[in-house]
């Protein structure tokens, strides 16, 4: 009998009275076992944790205790079989990447009418070349060439990106219409990532060419938003964006609202949730809100040829741990914010609340696997955050096509098993493996199959923090179901309850 290499023990602090004290360990915390290969996650007793450790040490164990651990995949009888199960997941992921759609991002120009202080494109947005008709056509021509080089068979989809793609100017309308028409004629689905200021003016055009979804950003209530997300002359934008969201959603376009949060705005979220509820956005079938965090992007300015000290220093800093703690504290006290954002930083929410199988996370960033961005200089990029920085370009689409598939392939295929350091890491399937690929590449001398990640302890903490948040919610729901009179529960509810975490021994 062996402990599965993919079994992780999380230690979660829960409010007093949440669970039977029999489940609490000496530290007063509850143990949660999880195995992303078997898809299991369970609250276990201290006796079961001890049994697991005895198995790990090769000692004799009570058969009844082990039976449960074996059934849920935390221990196994054959390590080769366990390795085969892990390998099947890795191979399945590789196959899925080959067939997954590429997201081709068109940047007609870098110009943006806003001056957000945290914008990662910075000075690029004040002056920019433009994509002309020939460049846009060349970008479309490049799509099958890139798919061919990566042997990708998925249907491509197009995203309008900037700068601000939906500027209400004659040039931008012409370029955007050419991109939309080109996508429509080719049968490629198209979306737009916009600041939303002039989205309403574009709604008829978006509908004409079958655009079904756009993403806009808000920074919180008007009071907070209009101190940050403003026009270049300082004029506020909230009302314009609010109107655009309503116009687009009422016209049938799905609107994803990214709520951008940082230390200054996190405490504004409860008021913003009330605003969103009063607007009817929380229940609108075409509107979904989700959270994003502002982050440091100094890593964009380093490349593998820079001195090591500089590289290591510049790639440091992402979302600050303090911000995440403040965020969870705020959400815990404000169920309406949870309803609005349904936050899932550790990607375990549906497993805990909906009874889904715990899903392995093999790649922490989808940009490397699926993004190709065309910028108005004729260059091709593999990550939307790097656009406009020529040192990060991986090819050109105009005036001639060239593409460094040999540079891009290791990036595209990077996952927990291609990074040697990750391969032996116990929490790799909760992290995605190796952190940001561009940071790893820059920090480690130009090798994508290296690691730039937060410490393992921070991955564990991330999962434990979210478990501490979700478990009381899940247990409360379970209790509510149990207290309901028989016959009041529908079939779907019964199924959900039967399948849902927390499973408890």
């Amino acid at each position: 009998m062996f402990v599965s290499p993919n079994t992780v023990t999380f230690s979660v602090e829960l409010p007093e009275g949440t669970l039977d004290p029999a489940y609490l360990g000496e530290s007063g915390k509850v143990s949660v076992l999880a195995n992303a290969v078997s898809g299991s996650m369970d609250i276990v007793t201290p006796a079961e944790v001890a049994a697991l450790e005895r198995v790990r040490a090769g000692e004799a164990v009570d058969r009844e205790l082990v039976a449960g651990l074996l059934e849920r995949g935390y221990v196994c009888t054959d390590l080769a079989e366990e390795e085969a199960r892990y390998r099947a997941i890795v191979d399945g992921y590789f196959q899925a990447i080959q067939e997954a759609p590429f997201q081709f991002m068109f940047i007609p120009s870098f110009v943006c009418n806003l001056a957000c202080p945290y914008c990662f494109e910075g000075e690029l947005t004040t002056r920019s070349p433009r994509m002309d008709e020939e460049m846009i056509e060349a970008a479309f021509d490049t799509i099958p060439e890139i798919q061919d080089r990566h042997q990708n068979s998925g249907p491509p989809y197009i995203t309008l990106f900037g700068g601000e793609p939906l500027l209400d100017t004659p040039y931008q309308r012409g370029a955007v219409e050419q991109i939309l028409r080109g996508s429509y004629d080719r049968g490629y689905p198209v979306t737009a990532i916009t600041n939303g200021v002039a989205l309403d003016a574009y709604v008829p055009m978006l509908l004409k060419y079958g655009c079904e979804e756009v993403q806009v950003s808000l920074d919180g209530t008007p009071r907070t938003h209009d101190t940050r997300r403003v026009f270049r002359n300082g004029r506020p934008t909230f009302e314009l964006i609010e109107r655009s969201i309503d116009v687009a959603a009422d016209a049938g376009i799905r609107v994803l609202i990214r709520v951008l949060i940082d230390e200054d705005s996190v405490d504004d979220m409860p008021r913003f949730a009330e605003f969103a509820q009063a607007k009817g956005w929380l229940d609108h079938p075409k509107i979904r809100l989700f959270n994003g965090f502002t982050k440091a992007t100094t890593f964009l300015y380093v490349t593998p040829d820079h001195p090591e000290e500089k590289r290591k220093r510049m790639v440091r800093g992402d979302v600050k741990a303090g911000l995440q703690e403040a965020f969870w504290r705020m959400v815990q006290q404000n169920p309406l914010v949870d309803r609005m954002l349904q936050p899932d930083l550790a990607r375990i929410r549906s497993a805990v609340l909906e009874g889904d199988r715990l899903r392995p996370n093999l790649q922490g960033c989808s940009a490397g696997t699926s993004v190709v961005a065309f910028d108005p200089n004729g260059k091709i990029y593999g990550c939307p955050e790097t656009v406009g920085r020529p040192q990060h370009a991986c090819g050109t689409f105009y005036p001639e096509f060239s593409y460094a598939a040999g540079y891009r392939d290791p990036w595209r295929h990077r996952h927990v098993d291609t990074v040697p350091m990750c391969r032996d890491c116990n929490v790799k399937l909760f992290c995605g493996g190796g952190g940001c690929p561009i940071k790893a590449w820059a920090a480690n001398g130009g090798d994508f199959n290296t690691c730039y990640c937060p410490k393992v302890s921070s991955i564990t903490t991330r999962v434990e923090t979210q478990l501490a948040y979700l478990l009381p919610m899940a247990l409360r729901r379970q209790q509510e179901h149990a207290n309901r009179p028989e016959g009041e529960e529908g079939t779907w509810e019964q199924m959900t309850r039967v399948g849902s975490f927390p499973w408890m021994s």
Partner: protein, 309 residues
């Protein structure tokens, strides 16, 4: 550090680590054609093996589709196909009038799907594997200003050539796109007629291509495909019959690795309602088998009560 600060930035070329060179599009030349006679079938092509030798050993095996695409890219740059087939044997001098000479030089399809079907003004037509665009240019005149002609070709160089021809002839109803006809950049159910002139034969998985053809046709639409198939009476060589498909040589010569009746079954299995096949007569091919240049009419629904021709 500002965004426009270039200190420490490296050029794109320097960025690429050893062994990860940037790939350019243009590739070494080879040849391809469709045979009308046994002599042509045996004599006009550059042996594909020779073209394969130009590919570094560590990059083999090259998929057939890639091999074909590279070949046509090279032909477009070369400016002449030097192939066995001439458009003057397919189209009238009136139809070829005003067509740029270099388009005629690059034309390499031996079939004549355009002459097998009566295009009407206002129709939307797509040519799968349009090459330098000869059929596009003629079709554009037939469907008129209210119609639309779309060309799809995997070779970027051929697409550029076809666009240049359309511009020179002032035909504004032509839209040429780079694309793989197994996953054509054409909206589903958006065209009336698909034509394809000696192109499907170059694809090992014809079922995949035929599904794509059916998908872009509107209800009531028709695909007119010319291909070189084996006779039902003279079965394909053993390697083909054994399911190993055709060799690279067969693909280079556009000889489809199946018989007429196998082709018919494949079309019907790909989502078409009915199929008609017409043969131009048999010529001997390798291993004692016989091939014919066939015209396949694949109807999205049932055959029209009154044939179009």
């Amino acid at each position: 550090m500002g965004a426009d600060d270039t200190r420490g930035f490296v050029s794109l070329d320097e960025l690429i680590r050893p062994g990860t060179s940037i790939e350019a599009v243009v590739e070494p030349a080879a040849c391809g054609c469709a045979p009308a006679t046994a002599d042509e079938a045996s004599g006009c092509c550059v042996a594909p093996e020779a073209a394969l030798e130009a590919v570094p050993a560590d990059q083999r095996p090259v998929p057939v589709e890639t091999h074909v695409k590279k070949r046509y890219d090279a032909l477009a740059v070369q400016g002449t196909s030097t192939l066995c087939c001439s458009p003057t044997s397919v189209y009238t001098p009136e139809e070829l009038a005003e067509i740029p000479g270099w388009v005629l030089e690059l034309s390499s399809g031996c079939g004549s799907p355009m002459n097998a079907i009566g295009l009407r003004p206002g129709q939307t037509v797509v040519d799968f594997g349009c090459g330098a665009g000869l059929d596009l240019l003629i079709a554009a005149r037939r469907v008129g200003e209210t119609g639309r002609v779309i060309g799809v070709d995997a070779s970027m160089q051929m697409v550029r050539t076809a666009r240049r021809a359309a511009r020179e002839m002032g035909l504004r109803n032509i839209d040429v796109r780079v694309g793989d006809i197994r996953r054509p950049p054409v909206r589903e159910a958006s065209v009336d007629v698909v034509m394809s002139n000696c192109v499907l034969g170059m694809f090992p998985d014809k079922k995949e291509v035929l599904h794509a053809v059916a998908a872009v046709l509107r209800p009531g639409g028709v695909a007119v495909i010319s291909d070189v198939v084996y006779s039902d009476d003279g079965p394909p060589p053993a390697d083909v019959a054994a399911g190993e498909s055709a060799g690279a040589e067969d693909f280079a010569r556009c000889v489809v690795g199946m018989t007429e009746s196998q082709y018919r079954d494949l079309v019907l299995g790909a989502g078409f309602g009915s199929v008609d096949m017409r043969s131009d007569g048999l010529v001997p091919y390798r291993d004692g088998a016989q091939v014919t240049s066939a015209m396949i009419f694949a109807y999205r629904d049932d055959s029209p009560a009154r044939p179009c021709c």
